[in-house]
């Protein structure tokens, strides 16, 4: 044993080459080993949800810095690195990403960019939102200004994806989310875009609400042009739906005398409230013009053209102003059509008879109140009467045979008087007009059919 102890005391000379060997091992092996451990640690973290991950290996110690999205995720990541074979210890420099309140997210659009801003809860969701924006923006450049933060409300991603889908309908503006409240600003690309977006947002996940919809849509335009030369009415622009379209065409049929209709109307949502009532009223105004254009832009009505006689401008403007739905504005830019050459009584009679062949003066059922739809025809009759200033005009009222004879006679007189009053209001001297009524005495057709009775309910003019 003491012999062995003597040998041990002579083992020291080998320490010198051993030291050299050790230096050589450290010199050549340290960096490759660190690289190897870095790769293994990175592989271990492959499944972890982290942001800004940095792995630095010094010797066999790993410094792990990363942003984690939950405490559990953070701990798991550290444990995974610590369990990599060869790792001596982990210097944990991970941290939880900030939790923000309110949780804000937005998508905005200008001419050249679609910008995503605010917060996203996870890198994967951020990527998904960016991809969705890319496909919704249709080639427009995407700018990502989102940062990661905790505190997103539940179903944040579905809400954000739905909002991203709406960006294609915007010309410019911003859709933002603050917690579960949605705010919309900017302009829609098309008429009805505002309504289309509002309808789509009804599918927002439960708990999400639209707090403010301040989107502007392009003006809702409806235009009718009256061309007396081609005797054509050209309809362009939009109507709310097919029912409104039919109602407008029917109103034109009642109000205008013999014009052809060139109908280029399209149906679109986004009509202002009271559109149909306002359009019908404005069409009455247009029917009283010789030539003109009716333009409805949102809630502004503009009527421009030539009236048939000097007093008509004021009457038309007055009628429009009195009956327009609330919130609507009207502007009449009317001039008077030059007076046509005077004609003698015979021609005057022909003109009046010709006009009455195209249309009938209508009254409210059983009353002597002239229907507003007849204003256009009446203005044309007045224009004709003004061309024969020296002639006397007899206005004759007729009824069908329904009802009592005396009542019919009285009604026919009152109706003829209503027309006479209308003429006088238009500026035709009182002395030139006589109103007479014949009741059902002078039928022009059989009173046995509805068609015949309709022909018998009439106003006739006799020029002397």
């Amino acid at each position: 044993m003491s012999e062995f102890s003597n040998w041990v005391r002579k083992w020291w000379p080998g320490l010198i080459p051993l030291a050299a060997l050790w230096v050589a091992a450290a010199w050549t092996g340290t960096v490759p080993m660190e690289q190897h451990l870095t790769a293994r640690a990175a592989a271990a973290l492959k499944e972890s949800v982290l942001d800004k991950t940095q792995i630095e290996v010094s010797g066999r110690d790993v410094r792990l810095s990363a942003d984690a999205f939950s405490e559990q995720g953070r701990r798991t990541a550290v444990d995974q690195v610590a369990s990599v074979p060869g790792v001596r210890m982990v210097l944990d420099q991970t941290q939880l990403i900030a939790e923000v309140t309110p949780y804000v997210w937005s998508i905005g659009r200008d001419v050249v960019h679609v910008t995503l801003g605010g917060n996203a809860p996870l890198p994967a969701i951020k990527t998904r939102l960016l991809e969705a924006a890319r496909s919704a923006a249709n080639g427009t450049e995407i700018v990502d200004q989102m940062s990661l933060a905790r505190g997103a409300p539940v179903r944040f991603d579905s809400a954000a994806l739905l909002l991203i889908d709406q960006i294609a309908k915007l010309k410019d503006g911003r859709i933002s989310l603050a917690n579960t409240k949605v705010t919309l600003e900017g302009s829609a690309r098309e008429i009805g875009g505002r309504e289309a977006i509002a309808a789509a947002l009804k599918n927002l996940p439960e708990g999400y609400t639209v707090e403010k919809n301040a989107l502007y849509a392009p003006p809702y335009l409806f235009q009718v042009n009256k061309d007396p030369v081609a005797s054509t009415l050209t309809l362009t622009g939009y109507v709310p739906d097919n029912a409104a379209h039919a109602a407008i065409v029917a109103a034109i049929g009642r109000k205008f005398v013999g014009e052809k209709i060139e109908d280029k109307l399209k149906a679109s949502a986004g009509a202002p409230q009271g559109f149909l009532a306002a359009a019908t009223l404005a069409l009455s105004g247009l029917s009283r013009l010789s030539t003109g254009t009716l333009t409805i832009q949102d809630r502004d009505i503009k009527l421009a053209g030539d009236v048939l006689y000097p007093g008509a401008s004021a009457l038309i403007a007055e009628d429009l102003a009195a009956k327009l739905p609330q919130g609507w504005k009207q502007k009449a830019e009317l001039t008077v059509k030059p007076v046509a050459a005077p004609v003698n009584a015979t021609i005057c009679q022909q003109l009046l008879t010709g006009l009455l062949a195209k249309g009938t003066i209508r009254f409210e059922t059983g009353k002597a109140v002239i229907d507003l739809d007849s204003a256009g025809l009446l203005d044309r009759l007045i224009e004709a009467v003004l061309r024969c200033p020296s002639s006397q005009i007899e206005i004759a009222g007729h009824t069908d045979s329904n009802g009592e004879k005396d009542a019919n006679l009285a009604l026919s007189i009152r109706r003829a008087q209503s027309v006479a009053d209308y003429f006088m209001k238009a500026g035709i001297p009182k002395e030139r007009i006589t109103a007479v009524g014949f009741g059902s005495e002078r039928p022009v057709a059989s009173n046995d059919t509805e068609e015949g009775r309709a022909q018998n309910r009439r106003i006739e003019f006799v020029v002397r």
Partner: protein
């Protein structure tokens, strides 16, 4: 530890071989022997370094180099023991014919 050995097995084997050679020649070596005090100091130094390693006092690379050094030193010592013992068994055991000694 096993990773460290697996990664540096060549160097550790070298240290063991060096130890074996040192152990083999030590019975006939004429170098000066360490004094008892020197041996104690060396032992104390090794214990201190082992403690440093086990408590992971040195961080990063120095820590790794210390571990590597200790493992290589261990392999060297083991090599020395085997070398000396083998020499004793093969050549120096009493009763062995003298003419067989190399």
């Amino acid at each position: 530890m096993s990773y460290l050995v697996a990664f540096n097995w060549g160097w550790i084997a070298g240290a063991a071989a060096l130890g074996f050679a040192t152990g083999w020649v030590s019975p006939i070596s004429r170098v000066r022997s360490l004094t008892r005090m020197g041996l104690r100091i060396a032992f104390a130094a090794i214990v201190a370094l082992l403690a440093l390693s086990l408590w992971r006092v040195l961080p990063g690379r120095p820590g790794y180099w210390l571990d590597l050094g200790l493992v290589m030193f261990g392999a060297y010592l083991a090599g020395c023991v085997v070398g000396s013992w083998l020499r004793y068994v093969l050549l120096l055991r009493p009763g062995r014919p003298r003419d067989e000694e190399g």
